[in-house]
């Protein structure tokens, strides 16, 4: 907190020295935030971006975990799709945008494709390794207790993979968020990315910085409140905090 205060003070001083149009101070940004939320521009943009993120992320969470399980346990999938996954991981998610635009046109679908492709692979890869490192002893024990097939997956393999899947999901969330903003910035139709682009066109540096502040705040909040909380809870239940 003290660090944050010093940082803001330093920023305020620096902005006095420079040209305020290119380097607005904290007061200007605060004003931009205030008008942004009051007029509803930022509120609508946040709502739009978050709604998109939730849809795209849900899809990639479900598909990523399923793909990860298949990669871990189905040899054929590993030998075919596995190679593809490795290759595609090298592609930054915005690079899908041109392709997505050509395939789906200028619509929601295109941007969701970017979000999903940006996060799905990291979730799948994390799930694969989590499933592969489930202690075989737990699976053997479960089988002697009558767990087979779907019950074995739902009640044993997936819960046992949870720590790994969760860190993959956390990483995937960050990737989804970045892909979404990149997509919105380039391709426009509502959302925070578009407001950012809008601020640039108007040379409204205070607005640009205000949007960035919102992005940082949302990123920190979701990571901390959602994943941080889940992870702490999991560590407590599993006893990972001991030792």
């Amino acid at each position: 907190m003290a660090f944050l205060a010093i940082l803001i003070a330093a920023w305020a001083t620096a902005s006095r020295l420079g040209e305020s149009y290119l380097f607005p101070g904290p007061d200007d940004v605060a004003a931009a935030l205030y008008t942004g939320f009051k007029s509803g521009i930022l509120t609508r943009a946040v709502a739009k971006s978050m709604a998109r993120l939730l849809v795209g992320y849900s899809v990639s969470l479900v598909a990523g975990v399923a793909l990860g399980c298949a990669l871990a346990r189905v040899k054929l999938v590993k030998e075919t799709v596995g190679l593809l996954v490795l290759g595609l991981q090298a592609v930054p998610s915005v690079c899908w945008l041109p392709l997505a635009l050509l395939w789906f046109g200028l619509n929601e679908m295109a941007i969701q494709v970017v979000v999903v492709l940006g996060s799905l692979l990291s979730i799948a890869v994390a799930t694969e390794s989590a499933v592969n490192t489930v202690p075989p002893l737990l699976v053997r024990a479960a089988r002697t207790m009558g767990a087979e097939g779907a019950a074995l997956w739902w009640r044993v393999i997936l819960p046992a993979s949870l720590p790994g899947v969760l860190s993959g999901a956390r990483l995937g969330w960050t990737f989804a968020w970045r892909s979404l903003l990149a997509g919105e910035l380039l391709f426009v139709s509502g959302g925070l990315g578009q407001v950012l682009e809008f601020g640039r066109e108007l040379h409204d540096m205070a607005l640009v910085l205000a949007v960035m502040a919102v992005i940082i705040a949302l990123g920190l909040a979701s990571d901390h409140l959602l994943f941080g909380r889940l992870e702490r809870r999991m560590r407590r239940v599993w006893g990972h905090d001991r030792r």
């Binding site: 053997r140 002697t144 087979e148 046992a160 599993w238 001991r242």
Partner: protein, 293 residues
Amino acid sequence: MVDTYRDAKAGDAPIIEVAAVTKSWPREGGGEVTSLAAVDLTIRRGEFVCLCGPSGCGKTTILNLIAGLEHPSSGEVRVRGARVEGPGPDRTVMFQESALFPWLSVRSNVAFPLEMAGVPKAERDARVERHLRMVHLWRYRDAQPHELSGGMRQRAALARALVNDPSILMMDEPFAALDAQTRDVLHGELERIWVETGKTVVFVTHNVREAVRLGDRVIIMGTRPGRVKRDLEVSLARPREPNDRDVASLSAVVERELKIEIEKVIREELDDAWTPAGNGLPRDSHRGMGDGI
């Protein structure tokens, strides 16, 4: 002195039959590793049988075959006369590491086999409580496995193994990781539970004293390839104490048999210079502390 054992007799109703079972695995780079060669073993209902042998002699493999987790390469495993095709609710296994699910509380861990069997909630709760009380863990029902000591975890694992009332309980070195005192206590409790429930127990250990302390029979296994070397009936009175004279003297007999096998393993693992006498230092009995007093 040692007429406290005799070679096991055949006769009474068999519950487990391992008939001419061979198990081999493909070796990396061709060939096969044979972990069991033509093993014959008959276990009678209600018997407490200990499998004893050097590590790698196929003890775990035998349990896996009886549990239905693996299939024999040749031969047949039968339980109550029916060929074993897979795991079944009449057989459970308890392992050296408790294999409790770390994400479930003690209570939910013990309830797991009942849920898999589709036992209704009310009955499930009653059975979980009865079994947790039996192993003296009812107070810890809401604890997570990591909050328990090693001995308590094995108690929980025992409750989980017994909760669905299997007729055969297999135990794979269940107390090997515990300290001697805890192990003694658990031996006493296992003996009590076995007497009370009349289960058939197949107990794997490489601790001879433990085998003689617990078993009606001690099966000594040999290695390379894994096979049954000796089948001893232990007719010592129960309850037994680990330091009973008879337990000690019978252990010494079994120990000698096992030593031959263990030396064989070490000879194969180390180079030719190794001899059973150890490092070649002369043994001077006068220098042994307290020897001969």
